[in-house]
């Protein structure tokens, strides 16, 4: 690098906060904040993963005693046998932490913060202070939600969807004493942090793009972050409203969600004068508000994975993404449709069949843009020179999970099929494959792909491949058999399935699933070793180790404060000009002004 650039870098350092605390802890730099978010989310994933392991242990061998666990978790186990209430807390907190604090956070808040300024060509986010504040708000949410295990009665146990009346009556279950209140407070922290992030994402993408970077030249990752931010800003307020009303119902005696005629343990809920304590409220109202958020929320998890996958597939096939406009349009269509399909979570809650039909049709329409995405990924791969490096394996894993999980979505979208399958393991299989799995694989793919940029070092490829193959096989072994037990009638959220005669025969399958889940969990050790070892000891990466075109690969790895040591680069093309005939290399950086290639649509 030339001396001039070093001088610029020195200038950049001069503006950078000097003390360790302000540089790395209360930082306003989007890269530090992105990594903070990412690492926090991954630690939360460890917690939520361990919760799932205990759930699986119970489902496979509910009659066995585990004295060791009993000593470690005296409140959860009595005499080595899990308490039913503790089981409900486990699956509730597993779902809540995974959906919000891991799979919304790692791809969106983690990679979003890290990548958006680098891919838009900005020095930082539009509102750096707000960005730092959002991380610390998020951390408060994490601490709050984890603290709920240690309050009287234990953690929330009404499911991640927190349906009233279970969640609205403080004496309904032990987890509803303080755990549910703390759950709501944790969620409010999370929503506040996600809102601050969304304001930053949209403002940065729309206001701070560098010269030449028109919308139709943005990488798919940037498109996905743009849409995710819109979804978050429009959908999360519904849950904020509902959460406030739930708090009021729980603590201030209102009846937003609570009807009359309620009884707890056989005793009717009556006021001192004998009138019902609550009346007229509608538990269905909560479901509507929750799922108005809930369905866009699952696309908040999914869309970044789709964006990462598109970008990784293009780089490792050395081809332009097939059908760029269709790909962007498909994501826009998926986002728009996500707001009109929430009712498909409520087919059994009771709704007019005509309304159910409308929701079913909307849901199945989502299959169209989803199929466009799969077709275009396959067309990008078709007859390309595929490089099977670790990021590419994860991206292909996303494609695989998106297809296998998406197909069962078409089943479940129809009310006639959903009604018998609702609340069975078929649904668990569906959303773990498409939402959880594809999002998780997307995060791992993005980690493998952008790690060199984030830490300046390569991840170990062998460890990465071992991690991928173990995870991929174990993931399918864990979740695919759930389709079968679901069709056989295995219900969700049941502490001991074998109390029902007709489920007794499913125990061997549950044992297989549990062993697979343990393999899946153990395989993550390879990731954590690889991550921390490579961050300090990995091979030096250089600016652009994957021969990529994106703007983020034109700055040093890791980028300094302010991202580019010199001037902000100007963009002359989209990031997909790979293998252009006549070009000196098989990739043309976005900053290359040459007239070759397709260049995307300029201004």
């Amino acid at each position: 690098m030339a001396h001039a650039a070093e001088a610029h870098a020195a200038e950049a350092h001069a503006h950078r906060p000097q003390s360790f605390i302000w540089r790395y802890v209360f930082s306003k730099d989007h890269k530090v904040i992105g990594i903070q978010y990412y690492v926090t989310a991954m630690l939360m994933a460890l917690v939520a993963g361990l919760l799932a392991m205990m759930v699986r242990l119970q489902l496979a061998w509910p009659d066995k005693t585990f004295p060791g666990l009993g000593r470690f978790l005296p409140d959860g186990y009595s005499d080595g046998v899990m308490n039913p209430e503790f089981y409900a807390m486990l699956f509730t907190m597993h779902g809540t932490i995974m959906v919000f604090f891991v799979l919304s956070t790692a791809p969106v808040s983690g990679f979003g913060n890290y990548l958006i300024p680098l891919q838009t060509g900005a020095r930082d986010m539009a509102f750096p202070f707000l960005n730092g504040l959002s991380y610390w708000t998020f951390l408060c949410g994490c601490v709050t939600i984890l603290a709920s295990f240690f309050v009287s009665g234990g953690a929330a146990a009404a499911g991640w969807t927190a349906y009233p009346p279970l969640s609205a009556l403080r004496n309904s279950i032990p987890g509803s004493q303080w755990g549910q209140t703390i759950w709501i407070v944790g969620m409010v922290f999370f929503i506040a942090s996600f809102t601050m992030g969304g304001l930053n994402f949209l403002t940065t993408i729309l206001n701070l793009r560098t010269k030449g970077l028109s919308l139709m030249r943005m990488p798919m990752t940037l498109w996905s972050m743009f849409l995710v931010a819109i979804l978050g800003l429009l959908a999360f307020p519904a849950l904020t409203a509902a959460s406030l009303m739930l708090i009021f119902d729980r603590h201030f005696g209102t009846s937003f969600f609570l009807p009359s005629g309620l009884a707890v343990s056989g005793a009717p809920l009556l006021a001192a004068d004998g009138s019902p304590l609550h009346s007229g409220g509608s538990p269905l109202l909560w479901q509507h508000l929750f799922w108005f958020l809930g369905h866009p929320e699952v696309y908040i998890l999914m869309l970044p994975a789709l964006g990462f996958t598109s970008d990784i597939i293009a780089v490792f096939s050395r081809k332009a993404i097939f059908g760029y406009k269709a790909m962007a349009g498909a994501m826009v269509a998926i986002s728009a449709l996500s707001f009109v399909v929430w009712g498909h979570h409520m087919f059994v809650s009771g709704m007019s069949p005509y309304l159910g039909m409308a929701f079913a049709v909307g849901t199945m329409l989502i299959a169209v843009p989803s199929a466009v995405k799969v077709f275009n990924w396959l067309a990008t791969l078709w007859r390309s020179r595929i490089r099977f490096e670790t990021p590419m394996l994860w991206a292909l894993g996303v494609v695989s999970l998106f297809i296998s999980g998406g197909l069962s979505g078409i089943w479940l979208g129809q009310s006639a099929v959903d009604i018998p399958l609702h609340d069975t393991y078929f649904v668990v299989a569906h959303f773990h494959l498409i939402m959880a799995g594809a999002a998780l694989f997307g995060v791992f793919g993005a980690t493998a792909y952008w790690f060199p940029k984030m830490f300046g070092r390569m991840m170990n490829d062998t460890l990465g491949k071992i991690h991928f193959w173990l995870t991929f096989v174990a993931y399918y072994c864990t979740f695919f058999p759930m389709h079968y037990i679901g069709i056989a009638g295995h219900v969700r959220r049941v502490y001991d399935p074998y109390q029902y005669q007709f489920l007794k025969g499913l125990q061997p399958i549950n044992e297989f699933i549990t062993v697979s889940a343990f393999v899946l969990g153990s395989a993550q050790v390879f990731f954590f070793i690889n991550f921390f070892w490579s961050a300090f000891k990995g091979k030096k990466a250089g600016e652009n180790p994957w021969q990529s075109n994106g703007l983020e690969w034109t700055c040093p790895s890791p980028p300094p404060h302010g991202n580019w040591p010199g001037e902000i680069p100007e963009v002359y093309r989209w990031p997909y000009d790979y293998s252009v005939p006549g070009a000196p290399t098989d990739h043309i950086a976005q900053t290359d002004p040459s007239p070759l290639g397709q260049r995307g649509e300029g201004h």
Binding site: F127, A235, G280, H288
Partner: protein, 217 residues
């Protein structure tokens, strides 16, 4: 939650305040126009961010509205009559919007003493509104109408409470801008109160909407 963005917007409005000629942190697009009067929304990051915030806050009230409409259809709804102080409060809030416009015009005309006076009026009217809302709650409570009395009163306390929470965030912002006017921190002719005024008018319109929803609709 509502006070946080305002604070950050102020910070972000002057992204390169860290030092003269600091090209390092000045966003290339947004750095040009945070103070420009007629700049487009896309060239003005703080203004754009504020509109996004008002959008997401509106979604919150749309969520409450849908709950309100659904809940009203149930049998136990007993309509509440509006405490009369609410009409006075409404007048106070709209007057504060008007005086804020006055302050804005004086500031643009570089008449700083007058701008300060008009702004002080705005603050007094805004605080009076909050006091008036507290009086409205107390008068209802004195009449035996509490949060849990019936669904209409629940919604009344909830919606007015959430609105006041947003307004308190606005008052924090007000203090920050008032201090700036006192310290002459604006360049002559600058429309320095524009963002705050946008938010404050939003709160007035929101209040009018809530009044309509609660007592007219």
């Amino acid at each position: 939650m509502s006070s946080a963005p305002t604070h950050a917007l102020d910070q972000a409005g002057r992204p390169s305040s860290g030092g003269g000629g600091g090209p390092v942190l000045g966003p290339p697009g947004g750095g040009e126009g945070p103070t420009g009067g007629g700049s487009s929304l896309f060239g003005d990051a703080p203004r754009f961010g504020l509109w996004l915030f008002m959008g997401t806050a509106s979604m919150l009230f749309i969520g409450f509205t849908s709950a309100y409409i659904l809940r009203r259809a149930s049998g136990d709804w007993r309509p509440l009559s509006a405490p009369s102080v609410l009409w006075l409060n409404t007048a106070l809030l709209f007057s504060s919007s008007a005086t804020l416009q006055g302050a804005r015009r004086r500031l643009r005309g570089s008449d700083l003493p007058a701008a300060q006076a008009w702004l002080a009026f705005t603050g007094i009217l805004g605080v009076s509104f909050v006091v008036g809302q507290v009086l409205a709650w107390r008068s209802l409570a004195a009449a035996g109408v509490f949060l849990s009395s019936n669904p209409h009163s629940s919604f009344f306390y909830l919606l007015t409470g959430v609105h006041v929470a947003h307004l308190l965030g606005g008052l924090v912002w007000f203090v920050a801008d008032f201090v700036k006017v006192r310290r002459l921190a604006f360049t002559p002719g600058e429309d320095g109160l524009r963002l705050f005024a946008t938010y404050w008018h939003f709160l007035a319109v929101l209040w009018a909407y809530l009044l309509f929803l609660l007592f007219v609709y």
